[in-house]
């Protein structure tokens, strides 16, 4: 039995949103609830629980396509894919340890709504690049769909991209179609020990600028590497490069990379299992999950400036960092401050070009400090008009991204 606030079908969902539109209150949208503490806190009258809108609808491995209801647990999807030797190429992260929630509950809708992608982002794209189509109910209480179930599709505006990363502020997705990809035959990771940040970025840039098809590139400074499975014996910094594919190909590329990177320092290799553990840590920011009080930021910048930005911020306010995406993603953990150092951090990011998102801080702080990077006036107004186009009465996740959205 579903109560009004845990709809089981898209029609139920439409009815309950219409009821809200009629002036009866507003909603915080949750599926697994694992990312409720990501973004600004929502102070809505009701929580809309999508948990019952769940289940894989279509999975055609040779068509590389899967459709599932929005609240289908990621674990269910990943298991189905695994059985066919496939996976979600964007490497959806599991931030449950980081945010202190239950890992089994993460859903497809949640990961898409937050547009989360892991280390393979640099090669395979973000979550948004893998959404082919969806059905949703807008904040106007209307059911609509966009996209389709094929990869090549330019019919109408690409609303799938807009849904990804809208944090449930525009419409509630009920059904999502994603692209899936074959799992590689093997994975290997090349490590370089003992580099400082700027040199590590140089090494990663050299690797990513070579034809060796590196699928992930991260740098863990010594104080972060210490918490990792790859902890170098002497507790030194580790720079890691991942190769995936056919065994013959991985071997060839590994040899080639080793030749070209030999000048940077001491090289090592991780086998498939160690490699998987390391990239899971990087993906989930596990080294930062261990110290529960720290405030955590995620900065997206031009890859070449990652280490500089991190070092500049470190010099000003302290804290620890590590780099993913070849330097383009800076994970930052700082001792808690009432302002989460947002001015200092954003100033450094603005100078380099990019954006900074506050991933973990107390509810009070996330209510006061802009969690998402402030936009120029023209862009902020445009985003507000886009919100109006989907949810003019502000019944869906009001305040999640910005107080006025």
């Amino acid at each position: 039995m579903s109560t009004p606030l845990d709809p089981a079908t898209v029609d139920d969902l439409r009815d309950v949103i219409r009821w809200a539109v009629a002036g009866n209150g507003d909603f915080e949208i949750a599926a697994g609830g694992t990312k409720r503490d990501f973004g600004r806190p929502v102070t809505a009258a009701y929580q809309l629980d999508l948990g019952k809108i769940s289940g894989i609808g279509l999975y055609e491995p040779t068509e590389l396509v899967l459709s599932a209801k929005a609240a289908t647990p990621l674990s269910v999807i990943e298991e189905a894919l695994m059985d066919e030797g496939q996976r979600l190429e964007f490497e959806p992260p599991d931030w449950s340890a980081l945010l202190g929630t239950s890992p089994e509950r993460a859903t497809l809708g949640g990961v898409i709504a937050c547009n989360l992608a892991g280390p393979r982002r640099i090669k395979a794209g973000a979550a948004r690049d893998h959404v082919l189509g969806f059905e949703a109910v807008s904040g106007r209480g209307e059911v609509f769909k966009a996209g389709g179930r094929v990869v090549k599709n330019v019919t109408g505006f690409d609303l799938s991209k807009l849904m990804a990363g809208s944090f449930g502020t525009l419409a509630v997705m009920a059904d999502i179609t994603v692209k899936v990809m074959p799992m590689p035959e093997t994975t290997a990771t090349l490590t370089i020990v003992g580099l400082d940040g700027p040199t590590a970025v140089q090494a990663m840039t050299a690797a990513l600028g070579s034809p060796n098809d590196v699928s992930a590139a991260a740098h863990l400074p010594a104080d972060v590497a210490r918490h990792s499975v790859v902890a170098a014996a002497d507790g030194d910094a580790v720079t890691a490069l991942r190769l995936e594919g056919l065994a013959v190909s991985v071997q060839a590329r590994q040899a080639e990379l080793e030749r070209s990177l030999a000048g940077f320092g001491e090289l090592g290799r991780l086998g498939p299992e160690e490699s998987d553990s390391l990239w899971r840590e990087v993906r989930d920011a596990t080294p930062f999950a261990v110290v529960p009080d720290e405030q955590i930021w995620r900065l997206s910048v031009a890859p070449r400036s990652g280490a500089e930005v991190a070092t500049a911020i470190g010099a000003e306010i302290g804290g620890r960092y590590f780099l993913d995406w070849g330097g383009g993603l800076v994970w930052l953990a700082i001792a808690p401050r009432p302002d989460a150092a947002h001015n200092e951090i954003r100033r450094a990011v603005d100078a380099a070009g990019g954006h900074a998102t506050l991933i973990r801080a107390s509810t009070e702080i996330r209510a006061q400090v802009p969690v998402f990077h402030p936009e120029s006036a023209a862009l902020a107004q445009l985003s507000a008009r886009v919100k109006d186009a989907f949810d003019p009465r502000r019944v869906l996740n009001r305040g999640r991204m910005r107080p006025d959205l």
Binding site: P4, L5, D15, V16, R18, V21, A22, G23, T43, T62, E63, L64, V65, R121, I122, A126, R128, D129, E142, A146, G148, R149, V150, K152, V154, T155, G156, F157, D158, L159, S160, K161, A164, G165, S166, L170, P182, E185, L208, G209, P211, N212, V248, S249, A252, E256, S300, A302, P303, G328, G353, G354, H355, A378, L382, V386, D388, F390, R393, M401
Partner: protein, 499 residues
């Protein structure tokens, strides 16, 4: 096909509007930047979909974002429609001018602004051609992946507006997966930047919807694209099949085996023959279907995959398999495919290129039905197909000078596209809706779907002045679309407990 009725008031003010535009865009060393003469407007009267022609009221040639901003703000205030134009190669009439509209030609935005190999990106003005971006980094081991067949001519701005594809999309993505940022001017004249050299937008992913928006949301004045490193080696296989079904099974077998080729293209017999007669690529004359499979990567990988794909092809009954022995031969294999459109142009006075996408496994059914339609309409058809991603390009052969043939070709084309939707596919895979498929949008979307898309347009262009008459069959006023329908008397959920 009907376009919005020209606004008589605007047409009456044409001279006045031109004078104001001349003040914004004074002539310079390269000549006039506001074109009003009938003879000079003629070259702009159509895009790649030449069946439709309409000279614009005025053409302007701005060269900075600030100038575009002034033009758009003036047009907004004066209630004048605007159509952006890149190279005019659109195959769906997206750049078709309006009789009462200003055509903003982006040809002067022709500079590459920044080649940043460390950050693996290129920043270019929108009028730079697709190929020029690849050329600018080729010597350094990089390239820009999306490669539409029109790449020597089409512009990167047009590519972003159409979300263009190419033969390498299956592995390397469409334009949307390769654009990092844009600078764009809104109808209000405001300039906004979306994305940059970093990954992902900070707020709502407006970059994602602007890409593929067919010039309906804003005028793009700068584009940042990611560039990829060139693979060490590439080898192509030319595989002949006795039936379309066996070629289809081969495609499914390759993907089922976890292989994502760099390119996988299929041609039917008429397309193969036309291409072979034109470029002598060495295509097998007897095959009912020809598959070109390109494998790229480090040499040992390519060797292993060529062997595997060859084996899979044999298992499903391929009648001939050839692997390219050197770069020249690989390029020759591709030459026929790349010249398929002009090759078909040689065997027919005119051809009409369709662009639906279908789930791959429906290919035999769809091609069977197309053959049946071909008989019914009495028009020949040649099929070229991005087999890897299910994107079909049936080329309908007709003669525009024969009475009624264009109408017949269009009816045939609509029937093909409806069939694509019926089997779970879409109306257009890469060429865009434009004016061509506008009136078919209802086949794929219902009113609520289309209204929601148009509401998004209202957020960017509340007066509906940017490229109207394209993509959406019925234009609603934004005020009407914005109205919220409150379903009162909704008593199903009384007094739920609040937080």
């Amino acid at each position: 096909m009907k376009m919005p009725v020209p606004d008589a008031g605007v047409l009456a003010r044409r001279a006045e509007i031109a004078a104001e535009l001349q003040r914004i865009l004074p002539p310079d060393a390269m000549g006039r930047r506001v074109i009003v003469e009938t003879t000079e407007l003629a070259p702009y009267e159509s895009d790649g979909l030449t069946a439709y022609r309409q000279p614009p009221m005025i053409v302007v040639l701005p060269e900075t974002a600030a100038e575009v901003g002034c033009v758009l703000r003036f047009c907004r205030d004066a209630g004048v429609k605007v159509v952006p134009r890149g190279a005019g190669t659109s195959l769906s009439g997206g750049a078709l001018p309006l009789a009462d509209g200003v055509l903003v030609a982006m040809g002067r935005f022709n500079r590459i602004l920044d080649i940043d190999l460390h950050n693996r990106c290129v920043v270019a003005q929108p009028g730079v051609t697709n190929l020029a971006i690849t050329e600018s980094v080729r010597g350094r081991g990089f390239y820009y992946a999306p490669d539409p067949s029109s790449q020597i001519a089409c512009t990167i701005g047009g590519n972003v507006a159409e979300n263009s594809g190419g033969v390498h999309c299956l592995k390397y993505g469409l334009t949307t997966n390769n654009v990092l940022g844009v600078e764009m001017v809104l109808m209000s004249g405001e300039i906004v930047r979306l994305g940059g050299k970093h990954l992902d937008a900070g707020g709502l992913d407006l970059l994602g919807v602007v890409t593929g928006s067919e010039g309906l949301l804003g005028v793009i004045t700068e584009v940042t694209v990611r560039i990829l490193t060139k693979q060490a080696t590439a080898q192509a296989l030319l595989i002949g099949f006795p039936t379309l079904e066996s070629a289809g099974s081969c495609v499914a077998a390759i993907i089922g085996a976890g292989i994502i080729p760099g390119g996988m293209e299929m041609m039917d017999k008429p397309a193969t023959q036309a291409a072979e007669d034109f470029v002598h690529a060495g295509y097998p004359a007897d095959a009912a279907a020809l598959l070109i499979v390109e494998l790229d990567g480090p040499a040992p990988e390519v060797t292993a995959l060529v062997e595997r794909v060859g084996r899979l092809a044999t298992e499903v009954g391929a009648t001939s398999i050839r692997a390219s022995r050197d770069e020249a031969e690989r390029l020759r294999f591709w030459a026929g495919r790349k010249a398929a459109f002009p090759a078909v142009g040689r065997i027919s006075p005119d051809y009409y290129c369709m662009d639906g996408t279908i789930p791959r496994h429906r290919l035999p059914l769809v091609l069977g039905r197309i053959a049946e339609m071909s008989g019914r309409y009495g028009l020949r058809v040649a099929n070229v197909f991005h087999a890897g991603d299910g994107n079909l390009h049936p080329l309908i052969l007709y003669d525009a000078n024969a009475a009624g043939e264009l109408d017949k070709a269009e009816a045939f084309g609509s029937e093909i596209l409806k069939l694509c939707v019926e089997v779970g596919g879409v109306l257009t895979g890469e060429h865009g809706v434009g004016v061509e498929k506008r009136d078919l949008m209802g086949v794929m979307f219902n009113d609520e779907d289309l209204n929601q898309q148009q509401r998004l347009k209202c957020a960017f262009d509340p007066d509906g002045l940017l490229n109207p008459g394209k993509v959406y069959p019925i234009l609603h006023r934004c005020a009407e679309l914005g109205r919220v329908h409150v379903h009162r008397g909704q008593t199903r959920f009384p007094d739920l407990p609040r937080f």
